[in-house]
């Protein structure tokens, strides 16, 4: 069953990448799947529509639940990172204030590997942020603010 949901998420990721104008081969490389499988996906074959519904529901969960579920479904952290990044509908901006002490807890907390330490200060790559707020929850000095970007 989790495998089916994983396929559902991959299907949705493939559709998004295709909408972004990527070729079947590029999508296959990105998702680590055979090119023929991608072609099957995109032609609506070999996949239960129910799995895709479940996958869609997962993507619509809160950012943290979406991340947690995806991590549970995929064995490889690398893969779940990719799926979350491609499928998430919301974008965030991470602001790290000067009160940061450079303890590195956020670096450990961030599954998306969006945060790094540089000169005793955490730096975040907002493009990688999935909005789960695990980092700000762990921050001992409350220095991380995550804002959602809304496009008009």
């Amino acid at each position: 069953m989790p495998k089916h949901i994983a396929s559902g998420l991959k299907y949705l990721a493939a559709v998004k990448l295709k909408d972004a104008g990527k070729s079947h081969q590029a999508i296959a490389d990105e998702l680590g799947v055979d090119r023929s499988t991608i072609s099957h996906y995109l032609n609506g074959r070999n996949l239960s529509w129910n799995s895709i519904d479940v996958a869609r529901t997962i993507i619509d969960l809160t950012p943290r639940d979406f991340l947690r579920m995806t991590e549970a479904i995929f064995d490889e952290p690398e893969q779940s990172r990719k799926i979350v990044n491609i499928c998430r509908e919301r974008n965030f901006e991470v602001i790290i204030e000067d009160s940061c002490i450079g303890c590195g807890l956020c670096v450990n907390a961030c599954t998306m590997q969006a945060i790094s330490l540089e000169s005793l200060q955490a730096h975040a790559d907002s493009i990688q942020c999935c909005g789960c707020e695990l980092c700000s929850e762990d921050c001992p000095t409350n220095s991380i603010k995550i804002l959602e970007i809304e496009y008009d």
Partner: protein, 365 residues
């Protein structure tokens, strides 16, 4: 959240977080000055300076030396199982601020095995102590004065035979093997076997200093000796052979940069620089001569004047600002608030992080 692991050994402990990088904070109790900078600096209030810090040094290393203390000391056990500071590992985030601001190496944070004082991004105090072997005469004054036993001087003495010159021999026909020379010889260079039938006398020329005591005391005239330098000067001695050689080592983990080594050095060999500059003042009115400050001072910078006689009242304590590192441990220990220590300058490497800069500024007066 990844949990910290704490490993305690005697009064020392390690706190470790093993994630993307391995962070380890280790505490070395014997190096700790008890200054409490870590306690006031910790951004998550995980550190407590224990009351034991106030008298631990006195009770573990010194005998009781004030009459009042003897009574107090009876209430304590001989062994102490309490360390100077405690860190709550469930609160500690291993940011390393305590380590970065610790004026000695009592708290050391390592990241993937590298101490933060070797990582440029972290601030370090510009403090040092060194002994220049070219200037050092290996007199060991610094080794004795060092309050932390951080200095080891290994000296290699010249051969005694290279410092004196002379001739000595025994006329076996005249020697009666009485052993007077053996007993008198200050250099223990003579061995006489007095046993009948086995009589012998041997003079070790490496030990003999040609003082001629044996010759003068000999009841017969068996010993013929002459000190050449008395007769002709030291013409056959090479001054190069008379030099004391050696090497000096300062244990950087124990050194607190107090400057005693430089203060007692008769040459210009010992040099130091303290991490803090400032002042120390004692309020003579408030000091009740309890000695808590003397006990905690890691630099031997505080002392009582020598008693003027039995029954005389203990005078107030005296501070020697030259050897004070302005750590403020004494001011914290004083029950009467009689000591005022001011830290006016902190010499540290440049730092870009705002919070770390603020933390360093916060320990300055």
């Amino acid at each position: 959240m990844i949990r910290n692991l704490k490993e305690v050994k005697d009064n020392n402990f390690d706190i470790t977080r093993d994630a993307e990088e391995v962070r380890n904070l280790s505490f070395n109790d014997s190096t700790c000055l008890g200054c409490g900078i870590c306690e006031s600096t910790c951004p998550v209030e995980a550190i407590t300076l224990n009351a034991i810090a106030v008298d631990a040094r006195h009770r573990t290393f010194n005998d009781v030396y004030f009459s009042g203390h003897e009574k107090i000391a009876q209430n304590f056990k001989e062994e102490f199982d309490v360390q100077r500071i405690s860190i709550d590992e469930s609160k500690c985030v291993l940011c390393g601020m305590c380590s970065g601001l610790c004026p000695v190496d009592a708290l050391v944070l390592t990241i993937d095995g590298t101490p933060i004082k070797e990582i440029d991004a972290y601030p370090h105090y510009n403090a040092f102590s060194e002994i220049d072997d070219d200037e050092c005469i290996y007199c060991k004054r610094c080794e004795i004065a060092c309050p932390r036993d951080a200095i080891v001087i290994e000296r290699i003495l010249p051969n005694r035979a290279d410092l004196v010159t002379g001739e000595i021999e025994v006329d076996d026909d005249e020697c009666i093997y009485c052993g007077v020379c053996e007993e008198l010889c200050p250099a223990e260079a003579i061995v006489v076997d007095k046993e009948t039938g086995k009589e012998s006398i041997v003079i070790d020329k490496d030990k003999c200093v040609y003082c001629l005591v044996c010759k003068k005391a000999c009841p017969t005239t068996a010993i013929k000796a002459v000190c050449r330098s008395c007769s002709y000067g030291e013409y056959d001695l090479d001054p190069a052979n008379a030099v004391v050689k050696g090497n000096s080592v300062i244990d950087s983990e124990l050194c607190v940069f107090c400057g005693w080594c430089e203060g007692v050095c008769p040459t210009d060999a010992a040099k130091h620089k303290k991490p803090f500059e400032g002042s120390i003042e004692i309020d003579d009115e408030k000091c009740q001569a309890c000695g808590a400050c003397v006990d905690i001072c890691g630099c031997n910078a505080l002392a009582f004047p020598v008693s003027s006689g039995p029954g005389s009242r203990m005078e107030h304590v005296i501070a020697n600002g030259d050897y004070c590192v302005k750590c403020k441990a004494c001011a914290k220990a004083c029950p009467n608030g009689a000591i005022t220590v001011k830290r006016t300058e902190i010499d540290h490497t440049p730092i870009s992080s705002t919070t770390w800069k603020e933390a360093l500024d916060a320990i300055k007066d």
